[in-house]
C-alpha cells in the first residue's frame, strides 16, 4: 500500500497545542513536464477527434437533408402535375365533350331550374 501523502502530527504535538489539532503537511507530488505535455496533447487530440466526428456527423445529416429536400421537391412537382391533370380532366370543356355528356339527352324543361 502506498504511503499517505500527508502525515498527522496529532500525536506528536498534542502536548504542545491544545487546539488546532487538524494541521496537515502536504507533500509535493507533481507530474513531470513531459507527462504534462503528453496529457495536454492527448486531450487536444481527443477534443479534435470529437470536433471532427461531430462535423462529419453534421455533414452526413446535411446530405440526408439535401436528399430528402430533393425528394420533397420532386414529390411536390409530381403533385402539382397531377393537380393540373385533374383540373384539365374536370374542366368544363372536357366535361362537356366527355363520352358520358355526349350520350346524354338535352333537358326540355321550361321555366326555372330548382
Amino acid at each position: 500500500m502506498r504511503p499517505q501523502a500527508y502525515t498527522t502530527r496529532r500525536g506528536a504535538t498534542m502536548g504542545n497545542w491544545s487546539r488546532n489539532q487538524n494541521t496537515v503537511r502536504h507533500t509535493n507530488k507533481a507530474l513531470g513536464s513531459i507527462s504534462n505535455f503528453m496529457i495536454i496533447m492527448l486531450l487536444v487530440l481527443i477534443v479534435g477527434l470529437i470536433y471532427v466526428s461531430q462535423g462529419a456527423q453534421a455533414t452526413n445529416y446535411d446530405y440526408e437533408i439535401s436528399a430528402i429536400e430533393d425528394e420533397i421537391a420532386e414529390l411536390e412537382a409530381k403533385k402539382e402535375d397531377l393537380a393540373v391533370e385533374r383540373a384539365r380532366l374536370t374542366s368544363i370543356a372536357a366535361s362537356e365533350s366527355s363520352t358520358v355528356a355526349s350520350s346524354m339527352e338535352d333537358a326540355n324543361v321550361e321555366g326555372y331550374a330548382e
Partner: protein, 579 residues
C-alpha cells in the same frame, strides 16, 4: 572582408522569413477582404429560393376551382461535344416528337458550342423518358410555366404571364405583386458536391413567401355559359366584338365578365392584334349613349324637378348653343306634351336635355346650376369617369366638369344627359346602374372573393356600401320606369310572369377622325332582373360593336341581353313570384 557562411545563411533565412511574413501581412491584413471574398466564393452556396406564383381560382357554386395553375416543365439541352451524333437522333427524335425545336444537323454543325437547346416546355412524362435514356451530353433544366386547364375561358379577365414572369393584362397584371410573392435566400457553406452544409456561423436561410392564391368572384359555369352565348350571338348578329358583364347589384360582385374575341393565354403571342388582350369591360372607355338617361332621370328625381308623369313639349329636336339635338325616333305622333316615362320609353334625347334644364331651374336654358347638379350625380354619386377600384387594370374615362373650359359646355352637357361627349367604362356604368336599382347604395365592384390558404378557401368579408347614390324612393321609381321602358311596347312576352326585369338601350355614334361617324355605332343594353316584388338579383350589361358597322341598342344589344338574362335566371335559380 571575409564572410562567415553561417552569418550568410542566417541572413538568407532571415530574409526569406521576412518575405514570407511580409506576404502573409499583405494577404491577411492589407488584402484581407479580397482573399476572404475569394475563399467565400469557393465554399459558399448562394441560391435564390424562388417564390411560387399564386394560382387563380374561380367559384364553382360554393367551391373554388383552379383556372390558372403552375406546372413543372423542362428544357432539354445538348452538349454536342459530349453527345453522340449517331445515338442522340436515334433515341430522342421519337421521344421529343413535335416538341423538338432544333434540327440535328444544326445541333452538331458546331461542336464548340457546348449548349444547345433542343426542346422547351417539355412535360414531366417526356422529361422522364429523356432521363431514362441516360444519354451522354444531354441534360434537363426544370422551370415552371402557367397552365390554363379551362383553355381560353375568361382569357381577357385572367391575363397572362410573360417570358420574364411578369403578369400582363387582367388579374395577372393588376394583381402581379400579390401573385408573385417574395423570393427567399439560401446562403451556406457547401462541399465539393454543392450540397449545403449546416456548419459555419454565417449561414442564412430566408424562406420564400409564395404568392397568394386568389379566388375570383366569377362563377366558372356562368362564365362558360356567357361566353358560349356571346359566341353564338356574335355569329347570329354578324358582329365581331361583344362584351358582357353579369354582376350582383346587392354586393358589387362580378359573376361573369366576357369579351369576344378572346385569345389563348397559353399561347398569348399568337394573336392577330394586341387589342385582343384588352378587357373592354374595364379598360376601354366609350360612349354608352342612352343608358345614361337612367342616371340623368335619377338625378332629376333626386332634386324633385321631375316625376315619371311630368310632361314637356317634345318637338323631336331641341337646340343648345345653336346645335340641334334630335331624337333617334322621329315619330310625328310623339310631338306634343310627352311624359318623362314616355320620353324614357322612346329614349328621347330632347327629354333628357329637358331634365338638365330643369336641374338648373329653367324651362328653356341650360344653366350652370344644372351642369353642377348633373356633374355631382354623374361623378360623385354614380362614379362615372372615376376608377371603380375593381381589382383589374382600369381606365378612368372622361366626364367634363361643369366649368370645363371647352367649346360648347352647354351642348356637351346636353349630350352627356344621353351618354355622349363622355367616356366611361362598362364597369362604371354597370356599378352605377346597380346603385340606381338596388335601393340606392353604391357598392364598389369587386372580382376577388378571397384566397386559398393551405388548401382552405378564406372568403373576404362582404364590403359595405361605399355611399348612398340615390334615395330608396328614387331607386324604386327608377326600377319602375326601367321596367316600363322594357315592357311597355318593345319586349312584351320576353320576360316570364313573376319576374321583374327592366333595362335601357343605348346606341352611340363612334368618333372617327375627330367627328361622330354616321357609319359606325356601338350598341349597349344594361338591365336588371329578379323575382317580382323583390330587389334585383342581377345586373347584366352588353356592348356590341365592330369597326365600320352600325350596331343598335335595340337590334343587337337587347337580344344578347335577353338570352343572357334567361341563362342567368336559370343558373341562379331565381324563382318567379308566387312560387
Amino acid at each position: 572582408m571575409k564572410l562567415n557562411r553561417n552569418a550568410v545563411l542566417k541572413a538568407g533565412l532571415l530574409l526569406v522569413v521576412a518575405v514570407i511574413i511580409l506576404k502573409l501581412f499583405c494577404i491577411q491584413i492589407v488584402e484581407h477582404e479580397e482573399w476572404v471574398e475569394k475563399a467565400a466564393a469557393q465554399h459558399t452556396l448562394q441560391n435564390v429560393l424562388l417564390a411560387k406564383r399564386g394560382e387563380i381560382y374561380m367559384m364553382d357554386g360554393d367551391e373554388p376551382v383552379a383556372v390558372v395553375m403552375n406546372a413543372t416543365v423542362y428544357t432539354v439541352i445538348v452538349d454536342p461535344m459530349l453527345a453522340s451524333e449517331e445515338e442522340l437522333p436515334e433515341k430522342l427524335t421519337e421521344v421529343l416528337g413535335e416538341q423538338r425545336i432544333a434540327e440535328w444537323e444544326d445541333v452538331f454543325a458546331d461542336k464548340s458550342r457546348r449548349y444547345y437547346v433542343i426542346a422547351k416546355n417539355v412535360e414531366r412524362k417526356v422529361a422522364e423518358k429523356v432521363a431514362e435514356a441516360d444519354l451522354a451530353g444531354v441534360w434537363l433544366q426544370s422551370d415552371t410555366k402557367r397552365v390554363y386547364p379551362e383553355g381560353t375561358l375568361a382569357s381577357t379577365v385572367l391575363g397572362f404571364v410573360n417570358a420574364d414572369g411578369v403578369g400582363q393584362y387582367g388579374v395577372e397584371g393588376a394583381m402581379n405583386e400579390e401573385l408573385t410573392g417574395v423570393n427567399g435566400l439560401l446562403r451556406t457553406v457547401k462541399d465539393v458536391n454543392n450540397v449545403a452544409l449546416s456548419i459555419g456561423g454565417d449561414n442564412i436561410k430566408v424562406p420564400a413567401e409564395d404568392g397568394e392564391n386568389i379566388v375570383l368572384t366569377i362563377d366558372r359555369n356562368l362564365q362558360y355559359k356567357v361566353e358560349k352565348i356571346l359566341e353564338q350571338q356574335a355569329e347570329e348578329l354578324g358582329f365581331k366584338n361583344i362584351s358582357a358583364l353579369v354582376m350582383d347589384p346587392r354586393t358589387g360582385k362580378v359573376l361573369a365578365m366576357a369579351n369576344l374575341p378572346g385569345y389563348d393565354p397559353a399561347d398569348f403571342g399568337n394573336v392577330m392584334s394586341a387589342e385582343d388582350y384588352i378587357n373592354h369591360v374595364v379598360e376601354d372607355p366609350y360612349e354608352p349613349a342612352s343608358v345614361c338617361k337612367t342616371f340623368t332621370f335619377a338625378a332629376g328625381l333626386e332634386y324633385g324637378v321631375m316625376t315619371p308623369e311630368k310632361t314637356f313639349f317634345n318637338e323631336n329636336v331641341t337646340y343648345v348653343d345653336g346645335w340641334p339635338i334630335k331624337n333617334s325616333t322621329q315619330k310625328a305622333e310623339l310631338v306634343g306634351q310627352i311624359s318623362m316615362q314616355t320620353a324614357l320609353n322612346w329614349s328621347m334625347n330632347t327629354g333628357s336635355t329637358q331634365v338638365l334644364r330643369w336641374l338648373g331651374g329653367s324651362e328653356s336654358e341650360i344653366l350652370q346650376q344644372g351642369r353642377e347638379r348633373l356633374y355631382d350625380y354623374y361623378y360623385n354619386h354614380f362614379g362615372l369617369g372615376v376608377p371603380t377600384g375593381i381589382e383589374l387594370i382600369e381606365s378612368p374615362g372622361v366626364v367634363y366638369g361643369p366649368n370645363a373650359e371647352i367649346y360648347g359646355i352647354d351642348s356637351t352637357y346636353a349630350n352627356m344627359t344621353f351618354g355622349q361627349n363622355m367616356q366611361v367604362t362598362m364597369i362604371q356604368v354597370a356599378s352605377a346602374f346597380s346603385a340606381v336599382v338596388n335601393g340606392g347604395e353604391y357598392f364598389a365592384p369587386t372580382i376577388v372573393a378571397g384566397k386559398v390558404v393551405n388548401g382552405e378557401f378564406v372568403e373576404n368579408e362582404q364590403a359595405e356600401a361605399v355611399r348612398r347614390a340615390v334615395s330608396q324612393e328614387t331607386s324604386a321609381t327608377m326600377r319602375e320606369m326601367l321596367y316600363n321602358t322594357r315592357t311597355s311596347f318593345r319586349n312584351n312576352g320576353v320576360d316570364a310572369e313573376g319576374y321583374y326585369v327592366g333595362g335601357k338601350t343605348g346606341t352611340a355614334q363612334m368618333i372617327k377622325d375627330g367627328a361622330y361617324s354616321f357609319d359606325e355605332t356601338v350598341a349597349t343594353y344594361v338591365g336588371f332582373g329578379g323575382t317580382a316584388g323583390e330587389l334585383p338579383e342581377y345586373v347584366i350589361m352588353v356592348r356590341v360593336w365592330e369597326d365600320g358597322k352600325i350596331a343598335g341598342g335595340e337590334a343587337q344589344a337587347l337580344p344578347v341581353f335577353n338570352v343572357l338574362k334567361a341563362c342567368v335566371q336559370d343558373y341562379l335559380k331565381i324563382k318567379p313570384a308566387g312560387v
